[in-house]
């Protein structure tokens, strides 16, 4: 499955993931504490500079941001209509900066690095015995493994409808999809335990 990580070797790629995440958290707090347009303007320029220095092709770089940027624009228009132009500008600059910085962290941090960080975060849950730290990676792996299978099953159920001349309705599609998918759970769980992944 495709990820949003961008293979490259920039300074941002080499920074430790935790430092990037803490910096992102600090930046988001700072962005919400200020309403100064010059500062927010500088912030958005830094965001643009960082995000577009990653070496993503321009089309791809813009396509990634488009859906989120659209929601920001809609909220800005609301602000422009019901509040003041200054309010709209603050929201536009603040959220756009945040989006750019967040997208930068995502593009420069590999899935494995993220999973390492999350494994540290769930440490306390492991100590109380709720889960195993390795469960996070296992769950991610299972999803990646089974999405294509579910899509194939979905297509098969659609075809079964067509073959019988039935209209494809959400209900007659989703119930069999869920039952057929979850029916495999016991054998998958047995396979995982047989390999001793979770040691319990």
């Amino acid at each position: 499955m495709r990820t949003l990580y961008v293979e490259a070797d920039t300074i941002l790629h080499r920074l430790p993931p935790r430092a990037k995440l803490l910096a992102l958290a600090a930046a988001s707090i700072a962005l919400f504490l200020t309403r100064s347009l010059p500062w927010l303007g500088i912030a958005v320029l830094i965001g643009v500079g960082l995000y577009f220095s990653l070496g993503l092709p321009m089309r791809e770089a813009l396509a990634r941001l488009r859906p989120i940027f659209l929601t920001i624009v809609v909220v800005c228009l609301f602000n422009l209509l019901f509040n003041s132009p200054a309010d709209a500008a603050v929201v536009l600059l603040r959220l756009t900066t945040l989006m750019l910085l967040a997208a930068t962290v995502t593009a420069t941090t590999s899935i494995a690095d993220f999973i390492d960080e999350i494994t540290v975060l769930v440490g306390p849950l492991e100590r109380i015995g709720f889960l195993k730290a390795a469960d996070v990676g296992l769950a991610v792996g299972l999803v990646i493994r089974f999405v294509p299978e579910i899509l194939a099953r979905y297509a098969a159920i659609r075809e079964a409808h067509t073959a019988r001349g039935l209209p494809v309705r959400p209900l007659t599609l989703i119930a069999p999809l869920i039952i057929l998918t979850l029916r495999d759970a016991d054998s998958i769980a047995a396979a995982i335990d047989a390999r001793g992944f979770r040691r319990q």
Partner: protein
């Protein structure tokens, strides 16, 4: 937390697999072309339907874990939301509250389903129980999070945020109906919902 308690709350491999498979279903529902309903021309994206279904089919605990896995996948950089959205940037948008609300929506839907619906009830009672659970969890709770976040982060205030979100209510009510009917069908075919009523 004492040891006995911890053991009871421990996630079994089976729970983890159910939650992961359901997370995969939610992801898949974002990849398939939107389903058009016969009598309404607007296509519905099925991903938030998947959130209601997680609660209705798996119950509070496993349903919540399924949605948490989806949120985690998005956070670590998989573009698994409908329209290919993903990454930390999703959390920067003004509508991120709806997405975060999924976790609590699935929990509430599951919690209410476990208490309102039993296998021995009539089909109608099950359907109504699932509908109430999915409506409160999948619409009430998710909108509560989404609108609150939108009001503060978007700076547009509660009433405007509420009015702006109203447009999505009819589609979501339709999803609630589908979730309730699918919940009944799955309960009849492959019951998984923990019984607490």
């Amino acid at each position: 937390m004492n040891y006995q308690n911890a053991l009871e709350n421990r996630m079994t491999t089976r729970d983890l697999v159910f939650a992961s498979l359901f997370a995969a279903i939610i992801v898949a529902l974002g990849l398939v072309p939107p389903i058009t309903l016969g009598f309404i021309p607007v296509p519905i994206t099925a991903q938030s339907l998947g959130v209601m279904l997680a609660g209705v089919v798996l119950g509070a605990r496993r349903g919540t874990i399924a949605v948490l896995i989806v949120v985690l996948l998005v956070a670590i950089g998989f573009p698994v939301l409908s329209g290919g959205r993903g990454g930390l940037a999703v959390f920067a948008g003004p509508t991120a509250g709806f997405f975060i609300g999924w976790i609590f929506g699935a929990f509430t839907t599951g919690y209410l389903s476990e208490r309102l619906v039993t296998a021995s009830q009539s089909g109608l009672a099950q359907g109504v129980g699932f509908f109430v659970a999915a409506f409160i969890g999948g619409i009430g709770v998710i909108y509560l999070f989404g609108i609150t976040y939108l009001a503060f982060v978007g700076g547009i205030g509660f009433s405007k945020a509420f009015l702006g979100s109203l447009a999505f209510i009819p589609g979501d009510i339709l999803k609630t109906v589908i979730a309730a009917l699918a919940g009944r069908a799955v309960m009849a075919g492959y019951p998984l919902l923990p019984q607490r009523a």
